[in-house]
Every structure is written in C-alpha cells, then in structure tokens.
Symmetry: D2
Subunit: 337 residues, 4 copies
C-alpha cells in the first residue's frame, strides 16, 4: 500500500501513522518527494484492511497495490478452473450453451422447449422458478412447483438445470433440484446468500450486479470461494449506463479483463443485457468472439405469451440458426462449440 | 405526442393547450380516461419542438401515462406519511436526526457515543450489528451481540434504535431489538427480504440502491407496503456515477422528486454518499435545504479505531457543531430540528 | 399506453393486437396518423404488464412516437449508405480497416508504419496532427506539419488518410490534406464544427461522445447531413461508465441499434475504448462479430516511444496477426475483409 | 509516481524502466515487496506525462501521486480567487446571482426580464445568443443581434452580461459585448476554444461537461489559465447518470471537493441540471447550503413562449421569492447574498 501524506503533516502525525503500520505487522518506507511525502508499506497490505488508514490525521489518500481478493485470482491459481456440471464442462476449450425460458411456466411447454434447445445444441437448461421482479405486481415465479417441472424436464432430456436462488431459506430445494445455482445480478452483494451457497457443494453461477465494478464482482465470488465452494462460474449480463436504447450495456471487455485477473469461467447473458430480441444474436456472436466460455440465452416457443421478458426471447428455430453461426465464430477464435 | 393533463385542469387551460396544438398545425385527440385526460396529437409533431409544451399551465407531463407503483404514490395518499418510532415522528414538520457509529463495536463505547449524540440533538441511534462488506475479509459485524449492545444503549439513553437486516432468518432478532429495521442499498432489490419486513409490524428504512432509478426505488417500497407494512421511510445515500472523488454521488434532487411522487418521508445519509469526513457537513446542510425529512450521520469517538468506515465518521463535538448549523438552515426553510 | 405499429402491419396482426388489449379488459383507440397507425389504450394499463406487447407481431415499439432526426434515419433512406473514400468503400459488404499511430510524430516513422499496415491489410491510414489532450501539458500534435507528413505517407503508399479536426479555422488545411475528416468524441457536440464540415464536400467520420446517447449521436450526424454533406461515417469508441478497469466501456450493442435506426456505416475504435493493448484484439474480434462496417486500430512500431496513447497501440506484427483472425470472423458473419 | 511491476518482470525490463525514469530527470526508488516490486519515483512526475510509462514491458500500472494541474490548484495559490466583473465580485464572501432567459429572443422582453431580476436581487444578466442545441432543427440563437440586445439591456439596467461562446471565430464579438464569456458543458473539452478565451483578458465561466470528472474539469480550467487568463469561474451544472427523472444529476458534493482542490470560485446552475421548474428552488437552496459562490438561474416572463428550455425557467415573481429564501440560507452558512 502507498500512503500519500498531506502537505504540512506534522512529525507527530507521521510517527502515529508509522506506529499503526508497524502494529499491523508491516514495514513502512518513507520517501520524501518534492511536493509530497509518501509511505510505501511492504508486506501483505490486506492486514491493513481492518484499519481505516485514511482516517488517520495527515493521510491524504491510500493507494492499494495488491488486489483485495485472493482465491479467485489468477496469481493464486494459474490454470483455468473447469466446473463439472453432471458431465458438462464449463470453462474448457469447448464452449457451453445454456438456454431456456426466462421463467418456468407450464410443465409440457418447458419440456418441449428443453427438447428444442437440446436439438439446437444447448447443453444446459435455464428456467426461473423464483423471479426477482422490479414490481411486486409482476409474475413472481412458480416456486417449488417450477423446480419440479425443471427436474422433470431434466429427466426427459438429460440436460442439467440452472435456476436462480433468491432466499437462503430455499437452499434445501435448490440442493434437491438444481445442477447450477444462479445468483442473480440484484443479489450479487446479498452477502448472506453468497455465504449460504458457498457452504454447499454445488456449482454456482454468479451474475455481475448492474452497477458492480469488476473488482466488486470478483470480491463477491471470493465470498463464495472463501466459504468453501470452489465451483464458481461468473456471468456478465450488462451494466447500467445512461443509454436507454438497450436495457443495459453489455460490457464485453469485461471478458478478457476477468479472464486475465481470475481463473474462473465467464459466461455471457446477452438476452438480459440488451432486452430486445433483434439484438440478442449480434451480441451472442460478439461474446463468442471476445472469448466467453459460454452463453446463456432465453428461448421460448411463444414469446408473446411468456410471463416475463418475452420481448427478449428467441424462438427455438432462431436459436438453432444462431448456434450454427456461433459455431463458425467459435472455430475462428480457436474454440469448439 | 401524448400530453397528460393535471387533475383539475380548468377548461380554459385545456382550451389553451388545444389552441397551441392547432397553432402548430396539428390535430389533437382528446381521450377521457378513468384517471386522466390525455391528448394524443396527430400530425408531424416536429412542429411542436419549438413549443415547451410541458410549460403550459395544466400540462403535467408529456408521454409516460401511469407510474407502475400505487400504494406509495402521492395519488393514492395525498397527505404526508408520518412514521411513529416509539414517539419520535419521522416525516412531520420537525426533522429527525439519526446518528451513531457505522458498526457496533464495544458496549461501553456505543453507550458513550449514544449519550454524546443525544446531547448534540440526535433522536435516533444508528449502529450496524450485521455489516454488508464488499470483501469477505473485512469486519462483518458482531451479530446478535451487537443488537444486545444497541438495546443496552437504548435503555441507558432512551433513544430508539435503527439497525440493518441482511437475512430474512434474522427477523426474530430484529423484532426483539430494533425500532427501525434498515434495508441497506445493496439489498434494495432483495425482494424476499422486502417481503419479510413487509409482513411484520415494525418501521422500515429502505435505502436507495447504488444504481437504482427513483422508479425502482419506489417499486421496492411498494413491495414492503403491498405486503402489509405501511411504516416505510426512504433514504437517499448516493448513486454510482463515473466520478471518483467521492465514494458515490449524493443525488439531492431525488428529495423533491420523491416527495412529489410519494407520501413517504425521505432521509438523507450524507456519510455513506461521500465517504470523506470533510464533505459530510456541507452535504448535510444541503440535504436540509433541499427538503429532507431527516439525516442519518455517522459519529464515532475514535474514528481511526473504527472497525469500518472510520474515514467518514464525525467526532461527537463536530456533530454537535453541525447540528447547530442545521437548525439555522431548517428554520430558513420553514422546518424545525 | 401508446402502441406504435410497424408500417405494413397486416390486418390480421392488427386484429390480434386489438384482441390482446381487449382480453386484458382495456379499450383500444386507433389513431390513423400520417406516417403510422397508433393505438392509444384506455383503461388501467397495469393489466397489460404481464403481456409482452412489444413481442406481438406488428408492434414496433411502445411509447415514443417519432425520432427527432430525419436525414440520418433508416426511414428516410432504406438502403445502406456507402461512402467512397478515394476508391475505398466504407459501408459495403467488404469491411474497412483504418490503422496507424495515435499521433503523427516523425515523417519516416509514419511512412514506415503506413507501409506496415498496408501489408497487413489496412486500407486507410489514421494519424492525428491535432490532438485533443486532457492536459494542456501533454503533446498537442504537430499541426500542419503533421498533415504534410500524412500527405507524404499517402503519396508513398496510396492509402487514403483520416485525421482529426479540432477547430473550424483549420478547415482549409483539412480540405487540402485529409481524405476523411474525423470529429473526435469530445467534439461530438461542437455544433459549429459539425456545421463547418457539413458545409464541405469531404467524407466525415463522427465519433460518439463519451456520454452521448445514441439519439444524441444521430442528432449530431443530422447536423452534418442537414448542412449538406451526406458522406457521414459513425464511430463507436466507448462510453463513460463507473468501471475503471478499462478506459471506457465499448458499447458494441450500439452497432446493431444504430444500423437499425440509420443507413450510415458504423466503424468501431477498440483502441481508444479500452486503452490497453491486451484488450484491443478481443474487442476488435467482437466488433466484427457484432456487425461493424470497419475498425480503426492504433498501430505503432515503437509504442513505448509514442507521444500519446502508446499503451494501447499494437505492434505492426500483432496487427497483422489480428487481421488474419478478423478475416475468419468476417467470413463467419457473411462479410469480407 | 508509483510504478507497480508485473510479477515475473525480468531484470532487463526492470533496468529499462529505471533508465526511462532517469532520462526524464527523476529518481527511482525500488521497493521489493512480498508479492510485487514497486518503483517509487521522486521528483516532479509531470515530467513523465509525455512518456507512455504503462507501455513499457513489465509495468502493470502507474499510480500518480500529484495532481496533473498546477495553476488552478489550491497548493499553487492558497487564497480564494475573486473575479471582478465590472465591479461585481465573484468568489468573495458575498454570493453572486446570475439570472435571465435561456436564450435572447426579443429586445424589449430581454430588457424587461433584466429589470425584473435586478429588482429581485440578481447582479448579472444571463442570456444566450449562440445556443448549442442537440438537434439542428431547434432554435439556434439570434447570433450577433442577440449580443446587441444584451448590450442594450446592460445599458438600461447596469447589469454585467454573461453569454456563451461556441466558436473561436466569434471571439471579437464576445470581446465587444460580453462581460463574462461562458464555455458551455458540451464545449468543456473544446480545447481550441479554451485556448482562445485563455488568450484574452476577459472573465470566463467554464461549465462542467456532462461526463467530466472533477479532475478533467480542472484540467480544462488549467488550459485557460496556462494560456494566460486567470479570471476563471467554474460552474457545476449536473452530470449524466442513469437517472431519468431529472435531466442531469446535480453533483453538489463537487462544490466542497472543488473548493478544497482549487482557489477558483464555483457557481451552480440548478436550472440546466434538473430541467424542471419545480426542482429549481430546492436545488438552488441546497447549492447555497453546500457552499456555492453563486447561482445561475433561468428566469423568463413567459416560459411557455420561450424559444428554449421554457420548462425550467422561473417566473420573475417566483425568482424574487426564491432570492428571499436564499438570503436566509446564505446567512445561516455565514455568507451574504
């Protein structure tokens, strides 16, 4: 950590700062510059995280050198993590396709969609039984009944299931039905929920919060890993900006940034990012080209009757066409699909 | 263009609007709806671009018709809601001051701070027993022990307590110890938590999420109210922008906007918004001038030893000085403090 | 709710929409306008919240009626505009590559880079003679001397030149030396400069401002076109968000959005968007996959000696490798490069 | 400057970095930490600004210690700058009120508004003769004729005039008519325009760009000062965020931040920030409470007939009422108005 002192800091204040650094078991190096005095702290600066360094009299600012996360970092583990989901590998050279309706609605419809996406090339079925909706008057999901429909669809198609958890009290149901537990964007900093899924042995897909920096995103993944669960998949799904033409702004540069900083797989959800059907395909193509390890795409047989987000779902036939295009791009960037 | 008229627009004003439309060479269509009169304008509306239509008397707005929330809206309930917290009124003409440390740390220290802020003029004691921290390696709060310290401080000072809930499973503890349950910014869209506090009879203070629009903020309040709990207090605490000189950007214009849209009281937390001690006082003053119903301010006797956010806490003596200034401003805007 | 129908909506589709509205217990009012049929819905539209109205066949959008721009719009001109730059076509099926140093520095170096990028497959040489720098103490460009170096490099390589204008008073120089005049992001709303380039007969590439909505971006293009110059090329180069890992956030969804709204070609500048060498290649690949009509990429033989933005420039050999990859992706999406 | 090296940087790369630092006349200090090697550079790091340090092999990141601006900084000049505008002091203990219509429209109307605002307590008349409008089809201002109306209104009322420049070619007109030249938000990084007003002896009010950080804002002021003109006034007028209830988000915390970093006066323009009449008064009050040195407020006698921004203008009588309120708040924070 680099601590920059205010001009005119007294010797007594300086001494006090040095003491605090030494108390934390670290070594301070004083560098007297022309306009500023700087203290470079040698040692694991994470030891200073519990100290409000910038509250000390005389401190202008503190610049951290090391990243605040550890287990998720590429330095901690060099090789890519591959999460095994009932035989489907997430994070390897072969990209993974997750698809399905936004919310689980009717049993037969779900199974039918599951069969369609399987034929089209998807390996994992998505579907929400618990839906985080902005308004209390919107459809909130079928709950456990929805989870049972998902289990049924898995039995019929063999596709593993990813579904969202919203409440730590639902963990037993999730352990029973889900193959990957999804933490949605709005719960990325629901730390008790992170701790709960971290304490179980089940793959977790963590979505980036709408206004989460990549650093915060990785710290939320660190919550899960530090609680004991290393099977973490990250998902970029758009961030909130001033632009209103798209629901959110898909931050595709996050893919190479995250893959440099961490060993975890990165999935992209273009459907929620853009919120409009006609934008899903180009953004899916771009995500593959940018190096994503997989995609999550909403597919629905009757989008206009979907209980939620029908305006961003692809028809099964359009999904199939898209997969064919994605395969060409995957090949162009040295990946399989 | 869709022009929405104010309720109670006079015939003369209506005529005037119609004339302006005709002057621009366009044809107005009046649609008398259940709750509003709407004018749909037929023709090339570019002709209206030079006319500030929304400045015409009687025009409420152009374009969006109904807001998605109901119970929280000013249309549903005209008069201001006043939440009674053990005798302390939140939302009346008299402003309310909540103060205390970011996190509860030691019993005696908490009681001592509580006494200090009471003398300075605060009516409610704040303190976190469960702390939502970005990093899993930061201090996470004392948990139930912290709640007991808060209860103890209340017994000694008589000050009601506000403290944060992070998990629906902690609700029984909260019912036992808290006078106001706080939902933090990161949990503003933790809908299961909203439903939980909505199902109990205890005042709730809901903080605006870092990237929440005012519409989303009010919809989250609607979750609580529609679950049965009408004792809701809103809190603006800064939104995430590109600016890095402050932790967040305090959106003070949210105060008059929210007070027009809803009947609920609005508190401002300048401490978390700005994240630096020297900015707390000017932003607190500005919040009072902008019409806030109260403030929540971090106060700590030994900021440099605080377990969290010490760099934004005021010393008790500085808080006292600030309260005196705030009283003058409150008076200048016709409020009491 | 105001529902706008697509031109050419069939009677059957219209009936279907009306039915849906009636099913929800609401009353539709059809307003036959000059350019569109609009349905104003009377009643409590909350009943429509569960219906994805915009997913219904025939529905173009819900709410805003007409866009504020005209000449740039796809409605005004259906077919793609192809800008001819001394024989290089921008906007056709064949994608265009613009490359070169951020700023023009030395004559021989520029010519050498120009030769390198030509061999690698670039068709247009970029280089700034006037540099908009955040700090007055940074290198501001060589001015007219730089333009002469560019002309020299064009003579040697045959590559047309794109270079930035910062001041309407420099227009004569630009007319003499440039093949495409670039308006930088910071000048996107320098309306007098837009009017100036609009009044001349020379291709213009307009970069999106850091905080410009797509609507504002197109309105700035409309300034140029309405002044008489139809040879406009748009360039997405990243928008400002809260994320700090990248210089800006490249908004690739802007490509398909813009291409739907307008007939103008869209170029992507990944170098300025991300600001770091290692991110340029993945974002360039993604831009091609998302449907860009071309790329502008910074290339420098000695990045560490560049006078500006050296930390985002590719080496000629890396650029060459990238072009080979881009060709594969272009082919995968049915384009040539 | 603190230079952080990548893990695994070779000795040769390290040597090369040290050479570059010495070439710039600075002294490197190597600090070997547990996980990272850091080079602390002693000396005026601005000498490194022309070097792309992060482009050097082995460099992970560079953290500047000093601010990049000099003349505008509080360290360079401790006491507040007071700009004298024909006898009206901007930046002293007495706050200044600028008011008037958004755009100059008719001569008699302007003079009448000028008289009204003078009576209400304003000291400076605002009015745009050149209007930066998002759309080319909006009213663009009366040009020189508008400047003449302003001069006329000054002659009649004695109020100095502030008006916006959009083009360096209009400088002679501005020197003839304006008392303060305004640089609008969209031109904050129109560096040639900054240089032009910097080369003349006339007060300049620089508005913050919609997406400008405070650092960039101050660097734009540095452009003016480094060109020779020290009479610079800063103006906060709202930044662009995701919130759509207000036109922009007024960043009032920028006032105390800027006043700590610089000696220049800070004015707040609530009218453009919020864009709605009913929000102007609360935000004006808040700005005074937050420590602004003055306000710029739009006032128009017939807002509904204003050629631009009529929906944010106050009536003269409402302005008068507001001024009375502001005086009380100014007094409460130890200022005069």
């Amino acid at each position: 950590m680099i601590i920059v002192l205010k001009p005119g800091t007294t010797d007594r204040e300086k001494e006090h700062i040095l003491e605090k650094i030494k108390e934390a078991g670290l070594t301070p190096n004083i560098l007297e510059g022309q306009e500023r005095t700087v203290i470079a702290v040698i040692g694991d600066e994470r030891a200073l995280q519990k100290q409000p360094i910038t509250a000390l009299p005389g401190v202008e600012k503190a610049l951290p050198i090391l990243s605040p996360y550890k287990l998720v970092s590429r330095e901690f583990k060099k090789e890519n993590t591959v999460v095994d989901v009932n035989g489907v590998k997430v994070g390897g050279n072969k990209m993974v396709l997750m698809a399905g309706p936004c919310s689980v609605e009717k049993k037969d419809l779900l199974t039918s969609i599951a069969e369609d996406i399987k034929v089209a090339g998807a390996q994992i079925l998505r579907g929400g039984a618990f839906k985080p909706r902005t308004s209390p008057y919107s459809f909130q999901g079928l709950g456990e009944e929805g989870l049972e429909y998902l289990s049924e669809a898995r039995k019929k198609t063999g596709l593993p299931i990813i579904t969202e958890i919203m409440d730590p009290r639902d963990m037993p149901m999730m352990m029973k039905h889900a193959d990957i537990i999804q933490i949605g964007a709005r719960n990325m900093q629901n730390f008790r929920l992170l701790a709960e899924v971290g304490a179980h042995n089940k793959p977790v897909m963590l979505k980036r919060g709408l206004s989460a920096t990549i650093k915060e995103f990785l710290l939320s993944a660190e919550y899960i890993m530090s609680a004991g669960n290393a099977q973490v998949i990250l998902c970029e799904r758009g961030i909130r900006t001033f632009e209103t033409q798209t629901r959110n702004t898909l931050d595709l540069s996050a893919i190479p940034v995250i893959k440099q900083l961490t060993h975890l797989p990165v999935i992209v959800d273009p459907s929620h990012a853009v919120g409009k059907t006609y934008l899903v395909a180009p953004m899916a193509r771009a995500a593959v080209a940018a190096g994503a390890d997989g995609l999550m795409i909403e597919v629905h047989s009757f989008p206009e009757e979907a209980y939620c987000d029908g305006d961003q779902a692809l028809l099964p036939k359009d999904f199939k066409t898209l997969v064919a295009e994605l395969r060409l791009i995957a090949k162009a960037v040295g990946r399989e699909l």
